[in-house]
């Protein structure tokens, strides 16, 4: 009994240590954002200082373009999520309710495209984009985000559809529903929580994407990732301003994540928890 309690306490402490380790970079980012550049540069870590909003003012100042970048981030993330879901739902529907011999292979193949590092396909995509004029273009970036997230979206939607008993779809079929009616009146309402969490995940992945955003855009379609990177300039690093910019960039998605925690947990367990 006693050793059990000790073990529980030890586990608790360990969990806190791990949590703090994971959280520390974000905490440090937050602290740095409220420091002056001089305070940010000290070699000895400084936890106690009088906070200042100077860096935020600079980061949000006219000419910094925060709202321009934020708009691009929001536009490309939302658009790629909507397009991704619109493409994934029919694909997942076919695979979940009318599977054939190759369905399993197809699913694995789709996800296997995620095994390739993005940089591996950079050159061909860059050349194609350059030829068709999609560089530094919000549509171009949206398409990239869609392609990037599509395997995950299909896989997740598929697993949610699989949770719906086939009998229900057959009952709708016998009741006289067309495929579209079955999809919109029966399947989608039942999979709605799953679709919401899938959409959220896709949204977050697109929002946080930096590799393609930085390489494929310059200014007009640039997202918040580019904005953060812009604080690393030829004149040097501006730690405090960069931190303030980063906080501003991740704040919307963290707030969103906070309010949708329950959906997120469901989404990440891939429909295993009902």
């Amino acid at each position: 009994m006693k050793s059990q309690r000790f073990a529980n306490t030890a586990m608790g402490v360990l969990a806190w240590v791990v949590a703090l380790l994971i959280f520390f970079p974000i905490l440090w980012l937050l602290l740095t954002a409220f420091k002056t550049e001089q305070q940010a540069f000290t070699v000895v870590p400084n936890f106690f200082f009088s906070p200042t909003l100077e860096s935020f003012k600079t980061a949000l100042a006219q000419g910094s373009g925060y709202w321009h970048y934020a708009w691009n981030s929001a536009l490309t993330a939302v658009a790629s999520t909507v397009i991704g879901l619109a493409l994934a739902v029919p694909a997942a529907y076919a695979m979940a309710f009318y599977p054939n011999k190759r369905t399993d292979f197809l699913l694995v193949w789709m996800v296997s495209t995620k095994f390739i590092p993005a940089v591996g396909v950079l050159i061909p995509i860059y050349l194609v984009y350059s030829a068709v004029g999609l560089l530094d273009n919000a549509l171009g970036l949206t398409l990239l985000f869609t392609a990037m997230n599509l395997p995950i979206i299909v896989w997740m939607v598929y697993s949610y559809f699989r949770d719906i008993p086939k009998d229900i779809v057959e009952a709708a079929d016998i009741d006289g529903a067309s495929i579209m009616q079955t999809l919109f009146k029966v399947v989608l309402p039942l999979a709605l929580p799953g679709l919401a969490s899938t959409g959220l995940l896709a949204l977050i992945l697109a929002w946080n994407e930096s590799f393609w955003s930085i390489t494929m855009t310059d200014h007009s379609a640039a997202t918040l990732a580019v904005y953060i990177a812009s604080f690393k300039s030829a004149e040097g690093l501006f730690w405090a301003k960069m931190s303030a910019a980063s906080v501003l960039a991740i704040a919307p998605i963290i707030v969103l994540g906070w309010f949708t925690q329950r959906q997120m947990v469901r989404g990440l367990t891939f429909g295993a928890v009902k």
Partner: protein, 373 residues
């Protein structure tokens, strides 16, 4: 209401292997209650799913009301189906579940409401109309599933083991209720079950299936009295029929521990039979205590005695065979006793030892639909 006709219907999965359903022929009467029964994997559910259109028959024709529907999708077949899992729409209320098909047909709202109320009243679920399926008990869900089927007033009802998720008592009640409902609506109904008691109590005609093939189609009492082969004989009836391997000579079949005299019909049949070794079948309820000098006797040592009150079930070893007998309730029997049983000659069944088909004995009139088709 419609006549349903299956002509040489077969279903093959993949490109090779045996047919899941083979050479299925049946013509129903208008408004008939047909039960498909057999062990799991016998093809009864596949047959029903082909009638529904959820599976396509790979051979033959399925006619509903004289129209070949083999290539017609389920929603155009004018059928309603009750699933084993009930398959209610979880996000809709009971009323919405029942109204779904009518709404898809764009019926006027008053008509839908009236039909749903009517069906709900028939099934005694008026007070549940606003609830969601998850708030209902198994029996209530079952009623909603039935309600969803009857509001449509379809040509054919299909029921796929609808009672197997209910507890024993509820199952008996619902059994009677479905029969009553059928009497009232008089819609041609196919009912799939693996439970021979359900089949016997509900079916006007029963199709016994095994390994994708029809074994026999007949009324419950004819299946009991005149099983076409050893499988049907063993499947129908509870407890199931005893089988003894026997040799035949001069109108007597016998083996170690038993000797049974045949009646005229069996004698005549055996005279023209090719083989003289047969399976003798006798139902437990046709055995009774006899004496050692009788013309029909089965002798063995008692292994098991089950006192059920109304009857006493006794299992004895007769030579290499185990024989079950259903004796009167207060029969004094003890394990280890040697018992002599007897039965009437006209209660015996004979089956060819190789083909396992029944020998002799035919029902006077066999309404075999396969023959009509």
């Amino acid at each position: 209401m419609a006549i349903v006709e299956l002509k040489n219907v077969a279903k093959q999965y993949g490109s090779s292997g045996n047919n899941a359903v083979d050479n299925f022929n049946l013509v129903t009467r208008d408004g008939e209650f047909v039960v498909l029964v057999g062990p799991s994997g016998c093809g009864k559910s596949t047959t029903m799913r082909m009638i529904a259109g959820l599976e396509r028959n790979t051979e033959g024709e399925i006619l509903i009301g004289g129209k070949d529907v083999s290539q017609v999708p389920p929603k155009e077949r004018d059928i309603a189906m009750v699933f084993q899992s009930y398959a209610l729409y979880p996000h809709m209320s009971v009323a919405e579940n029942m109204a779904f098909s009518l709404k898809l047909k764009k019926r006027p709202a008053e008509e839908i409401k009236q039909k749903v109320d009517e069906a709900a009243q028939t099934l005694g679920i008026e007070h549940l109309l606003d609830r969601k399926p998850r708030e209902l008990s198994g029996g209530q869900r079952q009623r909603v599933a039935l309600g969803r089927a009857i509001v449509r007033n379809p040509q054919v009802f299909l029921m796929d083991e609808p009672l197997s998720n209910l507890d024993a008592k509820l199952r008996v009640d619902m059994r009677a209720e479905i029969v009553k409902l059928h009497k009232r609506l008089n819609v041609t109904t196919f009912y799939v079950t693996h439970d021979q008691v359900e089949a016997m109590t509900m079916g006007e005609r029963i199709v016994v299936m095994k390994d994708g093939k029809i074994q026999q189609i007949d009324t419950p009492i004819n299946l009991y009295d005149f099983p076409a082969n050893r499988f049907v004989a063993g499947f129908i009836g509870n407890p199931s029929m005893n089988f003894l391997r026997a040799g035949h000579a001069d109108g007597v079949v016998s083996g170690e521990g038993y000797r049974l005299t045949l009646d005229e019909a069996h004698r005549a049949a055996m005279a023209s039979a090719k083989r003289q070794d047969v399976w003798v079948g006798v139902r437990p309820e046709h055995l009774r205590i006899g004496d050692a000098s009788g013309a029909n006797r089965v002798e063995g040592m008692v292994d098991v005695v089950e006192t059920l009150g109304a009857v006493t079930m006794v299992q004895l070893s007769v030579g290499e065979h185990a024989v079950t007998a259903q004796l009167p309730g207060h029969q004094k029997v003890q394990i280890g006793d040697t018992l002599t049983l007897t039965c009437d000659s006209d209660k015996l069944h004979l089956f060819d030892s190789e083909s396992e088909l029944a020998i002799g004995r035919e029902p006077t009139s066999q309404p075999s639909a396969a023959a009509e088709a």
